[in-house]
């Protein structure tokens, strides 16, 4: 280990133990800073404020979301952008964040920086998100809406029948509940997408 020999030569008066402890403390400090910065970055980029920091989101999908049941309701519980679009599980979260970092490139190159461009890409963006939500069984919906906690008798007969069928067939929530917070794109819906789970 060349770096260790180098360090010992630089500090000949230091004992091995002192030098080792110093290296360990420095590594711990660097790790702490990196982990804190990473956690801070993940937390900050998972807020509604961050999501609507760019006009592409604020003036399109966020404007459409305003006033919907997930934004405003009788009890005041909100599902904001990250509630639905950012996985809550650590591994899935990091993977999604890495994918999202490529989306920054789209922002920088102005891929959807006008209404027309946004509409042109709306369907492909929706399909990406539907695909993710179909593959994970609409986990972000189920973080709040639990089949097991649903009091079926308080639902309409139709809703009871649909939910019983969805539960039996393992259908993802997004197969039926799409276009509820944003404008429905023009094209086949999630049900028509053939996606291996």
């Amino acid at each position: 280990m060349g770096w260790w020999q180098n360090l010992r030569q630089r500090c000949q008066t230091c004992s091995r133990v002192t030098l080792g402890a110093g290296v360990f403390a420095a590594a711990m400090a660097v790790s702490f800073v990196l982990l804190t910065a990473g956690a801070y970055g993940l937390a900050v980029t998972s807020t509604e404020e961050f999501c609507i920091g760019c006009h592409e989101m604020r003036e399109n999908v966020y404007a459409e979301y305003k006033g919907t049941i997930h934004d405003k309701n009788r009890v005041g519980v909100r599902a904001t952008c990250p509630s639905c679009h950012v996985p809550h599980e650590p591994v899935a979260l990091v993977i999604r964040k890495m994918q999202a970092s490529f989306e920054v490139w789209g922002h920088l190159t102005g891929k959807i920086d006008t209404k027309e461009k946004f509409e042109k890409h709306r369907y492909e963006m929706a399909v990406k998100e539907w695909t993710r939500m179909k593959k994970n069984g609409s986990q972000e919906c189920r973080n709040c809406h639990h089949f097991e906690a649903m009091e079926a008798e308080k639902q309409s007969e139709k809703a009871q029948a649909r939910h019983a069928k969805a539960k039996a067939e393992g259908t993802a929530c997004i197969d039926c509940h799409f276009g509820i917070a944003h404008k429905e794109p023009d094209g086949p819906g999630p049900r028509e997408l053939k996606i291996a789970k």
Binding site: E157, F178, E184, P188, R191, E192
Partner: protein, 106 residues
């Protein structure tokens, strides 16, 4: 006048010829729970509005048929089982006809 001329020239129905208040139509359809089973262009338990528009394209009785369908709660088949179609949540004929015009113009 223009709407009447369009209807004469292109043979489209009254509902399609009148100008549609999209916001009001979407609001009523949402309030009535229509979007739970229908969508503009995608398949759900009920046909998409685009499919309905295509089905009634050029038919003079389209508006009347859909008006009856939305206001009387007829029996429909979903997944092979019969159930009552929900009634649109409005008593205002103009409002209902606007929603029908919206569906037929998809």
């Amino acid at each position: 006048m223009l709407a009447a001329m369009s209807a004469l020239v292109f043979g489209i129905t009254g509902a399609q010829a009148q100008s549609v208040d999209t916001g009001a139509a979407e609001g009523l359809l949402k309030k009535s729970g229509c979007m739970k089973c229908h969508s503009v262009s995608a398949d759900k338990d009920g046909p998409s509005f685009k499919k309905t528009a295509a089905k009634y394209k050029g038919k003079s009785d389209a508006e009347g048929t859909l008006f009856k369908h939305l206001t009387t709660g007829p029996t429909v088949k979903v997944d092979g089982k019969e159930e009552r179609h929900d009634i649109i949540k409005s008593k205002d004929d103009r409002e209902i006809k606007n929603a029908i015009a919206y569906i037929l113009s998809r």
